[in-house]
Amino acid sequence: MERFKVFIQKNWMGYLFLAPFLILFTTFVVVPVFYAIGLSFTNFNMLQPPTFVGLNNYLLLLLDDQIFLTAIGNTLVFALITGPTGYFLSFFAAWAINQMKAKRFIALAFYAPSITSAVAMSVVWLVIFSGDRYGYANNILITLGLIESPIMWNTDPNYIMTVIIIISLWMSMGTGFLVFLAGLQSVPKEYYEAGSIDGIRSRAQELIYITLPAMKPQLLFGAITAIVAAFGVFDIAVSVAGMPSPNYAGHTIVAHLYDYAFIRFQMGYASAVAVVLFLMTFILGRLVMRMLSSKDE
């Protein structure tokens, strides 16, 4: 009892600060997540109560579902390309803009795809990647003599993934970019002054020895959210290639999940997909955290 008192005296302030978050987070996030994990061991069509089926969904998913394997393959290709590319591009953009004039205007232009709704986005890419010779991409390639007949960007299985990757990179750098920009503002100016006294001469040296180490927390944040976003690719894939996409060339894990959850109403199976996706993201996230985690963790 005495020890309990001491414990409370020492920590009550911390728990008090955490309380509002914990209450809301538990109610609206943790409970639903556990509920969904529970559903993954059931058959649930959203009308009748779920029936327990053990590991059945997982066995079906991993052993019998060929389309899921295609989805995993597509998602991995997508994630391996857009994850790192988007990450480095958005960091470079933030770093460059931070040293430029007219920062605010450039930053707005850079964040614009995140502001404008998905509808506007899909029309924009349609104008560019239209499958006839009027599409800007085809038009330019034909004029340059690189191709002879227009490429069917969003129906030809050979090109679907490429188009999805280009559009995703173009549309989704905003988040990482803003966080990095804010992170750059949070590096104390004294570090740079001290650095120049210690003999740092070039921008590149400054970046490697001062900026990057000081920004570790933001770099970790950017990396984790980039992984989550890359593995969660869905909206753009569907608006480019449709659902189901030709030959499943644009079928991603989340597209598979969405298909089962909201088209076939097999919520249990969809939840199993979500759990598998979660495990993949989590393992990669752990690796990245080990690489980038700050010293006191």
Partner: protein
């Protein structure tokens, strides 16, 4: 290196590297600003240009009919449009304010108080971030329903406050705040909440300004929450009301496409304002000094 006299007597130094950087950024910016430019252009397109095939990016003969159409559609609706605007603004501003407060308090506790269990809580936050939101929608609906919140503002606000992404963001920035400054303030006899609110939070301006932008954009455009949590017309927010203007869930009946284009443009204005104000804050705040104190 070339030197050019810039205004206010400053010198502009132009080097090869800088020129290259500006050129590269110009290309990037040209690409990323396309959706915004498109949105502006579309709002001023006359009907025949809206349905032009092949579609054109830029408006050829700008007109204001889309806006007058919008006024007509809006004024003939059963629920006054100002109501949707109020709903959107009230819900979004409430979420923004509460999530900044709740996430910052939580993040501060995780990083600076570190009560037993803090590491576990943080791990759960990260795991939640990684769990696909699609499958948790229905369980979340069940929770909201069982709390009796359906068709209230609470249903639109409460589930969007404690977001894993938000506390993760605040926590990462809080980690950089020097413990020595907090210790010093404690020795001076400052109370814990005062240290948090008047010492730590002001220097977290880049973090919470960014969080405000993210939260505002996400919730202002959120179409899903009002769709499932709200049943009465008068509780709808703008994104949902926009579909009503469009004349149905497909979004685009031919006759109303112009009004929708105008409304879509008007809807982005508050986000652009929020972004500009908040980014101005981020870029102009003097960086807090970690060492001098």
């Amino acid at each position: 290196m070339i030197k050019i006299k810039w205004f206010r007597g400053q010198w502009l130094h132009i080097t090869a590297g800088k020129t290259l950087m500006y050129a590269f950024m110009l290309v990037m910016v040209a690409f990323t600003s396309l959706p915004l430019i498109f949105l502006v252009n579309t709002a001023f397109k006359p009907m025949e240009e809206l349905f032009l095939f092949p579609p054109r990016f830029f408006v050829m003969r700008p007109v204001l009919t889309n806006f007058t159409d919008l006024v007509f559609v809006v004024s003939s609706a059963a629920v006054p449009f100002t109501r949707f605007f109020f709903n959107s603004l009230f819900v979004t501003v409430s979420i923004v304010f509460l999530t900044v407060l709740v996430s910052s308090l939580g993040a501060y506790a995780l990083v600076k108080f570190k009560p037993p269990g803090a590491t576990a809580i943080f791990s759960i936050v990260i795991m939640a971030l990684m769990f696909s939101p699609h499958v948790t929608r229905i369980p979340t609906y069940m929770v909201v329903n069982s709390l009796g919140l359906i068709n209230t503002y609470w249903a639109l606000i409460l589930p969007n406050i404690a977001v894993a992404f938000n506390i993760f963001l605040m926590k990462q920035f809080m980690e950089q705040y020097p413990n020595e400054l907090i210790e010093a303030a404690r020795i001076d006899g400052a109370r814990e909440f005062k240290i948090f609110w008047s010492l730590v939070m002001p220097s977290m301006a880049p973090a919470w300004s960014t969080l405000i932008v993210f939260t505002f954009v996400t919730n202002w455009n959120d179409f899903f929450s009002p769709l499932i949590y709200v049943t009465s017309q008068a509780m709808r927010t703008l994104p949902l009301a926009l579909q009503v203007i469009g004349g149905g869930p497909a979004g685009m009946t031919v006759g109303r496409a112009g009004a929708v284009a105008a409304a879509t443009l008007l809807m982005t204005i508050p986000t652009v304002i929020t972004f500009t104000v908040m980014q101005g804050r981020v870029m102009e705040t003097m960086v807090h000094s970690g060492i001098k104190g």
